[in-house]
């Protein structure tokens, strides 16, 4: 895997995550797609398992560092290391376990897997933060509302993933990801 290229792509994805998500939000809601999960899904579809887990962990840590959580009843925020890292590793593991039965060169596959990864991330994050809000952190957190919003965002991420696939799949060789030659290659070339 070409690590430098991956770092560059991850950097751009993190920048887009910070800046474009509010602009892409549906109406007045916070339902918005995740660019980072699309990149993670691409890597998880084609890279070696250990590289996938490391990538998930590092991307998750970066997202944790960039995410400021509001403290309840105080105009203050905090950053917590770990939740996204764990959630991303779980999501990557999910993609690793199903990728062998998927037609990976089909753009829709990236969308579907991105949606599954985002769902897994959402469930893991909501679980962790709900436990934290019960146990020891005064974060402004509503499990039901967050779960609904994040599940809807996961579907939105799937749609974005399907669209981004047209740019990301051709980018895969640049990232050093080996797309195996299968019988589907002819059909995929159309994309």
């Amino acid at each position: 895997m070409n690590k430098l290229a991956l770092v560059l792509v991850a950097w751009v994805a993190l920048g887009l995550e910070l800046s474009l998500r509010p602009a892409l939000a549906l109406g007045a809601t916070t339902i918005s797609p995740s660019f980072v999960i699309c990149i993670l899904t691409l890597v998880a579809m084609f890279a070696q398992p250990s590289a996938v887990r490391w990538t998930a962990l590092l991307l998750g840590l970066a997202v944790d560092l960039l995410t400021a959580l509001p403290i309840a009843n105080a105009a203050s925020d905090t950053r917590i290391v770990g939740p996204s890292a764990i959630a991303f590793v779980l999501a990557a593991q999910l993609v690793l376990s199903v990728r062998s039965v998927m037609m990976r060169r089909n753009p829709l596959t990236l969308g579907v897997l991105a949606m599954l990864a985002a769902l897994a991330t959402a469930i893991a994050l909501v679980t962790v933060f709900t436990v934290r809000s019960w146990m020891f952190d005064p974060i402004a957190w509503s499990a039901t509302s967050e779960l609904w919003t994040r599940c809807a965002s996961a579907v939105y991420t799937g749609v974005l993933g399907s669209l981004l696939a047209f740019a990301l799949l051709p980018l895969a060789p640049v990232l050093g990801l080996k797309i195996e030659t299968t019988m589907m290659a002819g059909r995929a070339a159309k994309y």
Binding site: S19, R21, A28, A75, S76, V131, R132
Partner: protein, 297 residues
């Protein structure tokens, strides 16, 4: 990933995941805040070259409907808004001073003239719209508690953390922003209704207005479209008083007190989390210190 041998990688990965599990589930946020903060700041700084231009581009493509100031009418409206804000602020200040004089404890620490404005671009927004990161920090004289506005007259929020190069602003519509007190401008500047507004987390603020009656006993009721301005001496600096919070979008009987009305207020500038540029209000003295520090550098 780059330098680790496969053998080391095999051991390091479970260790790293284990460390993340411990940090995520066992270590309280208050123990992480001090040491994670600088790394978060660094990460934001590293990502800013991408997020800043993209944010500006997104704002250019889908601009927040800030009242136009480029056309002649827009400029007049802007001037009108500024003068109106200034006048209302002066009146509020006069009323406050009158009260203070009556109580014989005049302690004026700050005047509206003692404030300076600093334009700053928004470089990031949290995905749940509870926080904006602006490109201005302590080196520019910004500090926690300073007020962020849009076009000088529309209240956006308050700085909750200022770092060297950037600062976090909590918009007034964020669910964690807390309640604010404002006044509904019913009839020019002579008749106002007080209201305590709470953010709904959906870009609006909701709250009950006071039950006020005319001399003949007729209830004064708020109407859709009326301006709501800040008048909260307890929670906001004097210089922020009478800034525009928004306009009334909906009026209905209060579910808690049927005799009162509940209003829904939406900022005139639309979704505060999508604003591309803000104007920070900060004490003049701090700005001078910052510029002196900059000169000496």
């Amino acid at each position: 990933m780059v330098i680790l041998t496969p053998k080391l990688t095999k051991k390091a990965l479970p260790l790293a995941i284990g460390a993340c599990v411990v940090l995520a589930l066992v270590v309280p946020a208050r123990w992480q805040r001090d040491w994670v903060g600088p790394f978060g700041q660094l990460a934001t700084l590293l990502v800013a070259p991408v997020s800043g231009p993209v944010k500006r581009l997104a704002h250019f493509v889908a601009p927040t409907p800030v009242p136009a100031s480029d056309s002649f009418v827009g400029q007049l409206k802007q001037e009108n808004d500024e003068l109106r804000t200034q006048l209302l602020a002066e009146r509020a200040e006069a009323a406050r001073l009158r009260t203070l004089l009556e109580q014989q404890r005049v302690m004026i620490t700050q005047t509206p003239g003692g404030v300076t404005h600093l334009p700053a671009s928004v470089i990031a927004a949290s995905s749940d719209n509870t926080m904006l990161t602006v490109r201005a920090g302590t080196r520019d004289g910004l500090g926690a508690g300073d007020v962020a506005t849009v076009n000088f007259v529309h209240l956006l929020g308050k700085v909750n953390a200022a770092r060297t190069r950037d600062a976090s602003v909590v918009p007034i519509t964020a669910k964690n922003a807390g309640d604010i007190e404002g006044v509904v401008i019913v009839d020019g500047l002579t008749m106002t209704l007080k209201a305590r507004l709470s953010p709904t987390g959906k870009g609006t603020l909701v709250g009950d207005v006071e039950d006020k009656r005319t001399e003949d006993g007729k209830a004064i009721e708020p109407q859709v479209g009326q301006d709501v301005r800040l008048l909260d001496n307890a929670g906001w600096p004097q210089t922020a008083q009478m800034l525009i919070i928004g306009v009334i979008e909906d009026v209905r009987p209060s579910p808690r007190q049927p005799l009162r009305k509940q209003i829904t207020v939406r900022p005139q500038v639309g979704d505060l989390s999508r604003v591309g540029e803000v104007v920070m209000q900060m004490p003049l003295q701090r700005e001078r210190l910052a510029s002196e520090r900059e000169d000496s550098r």
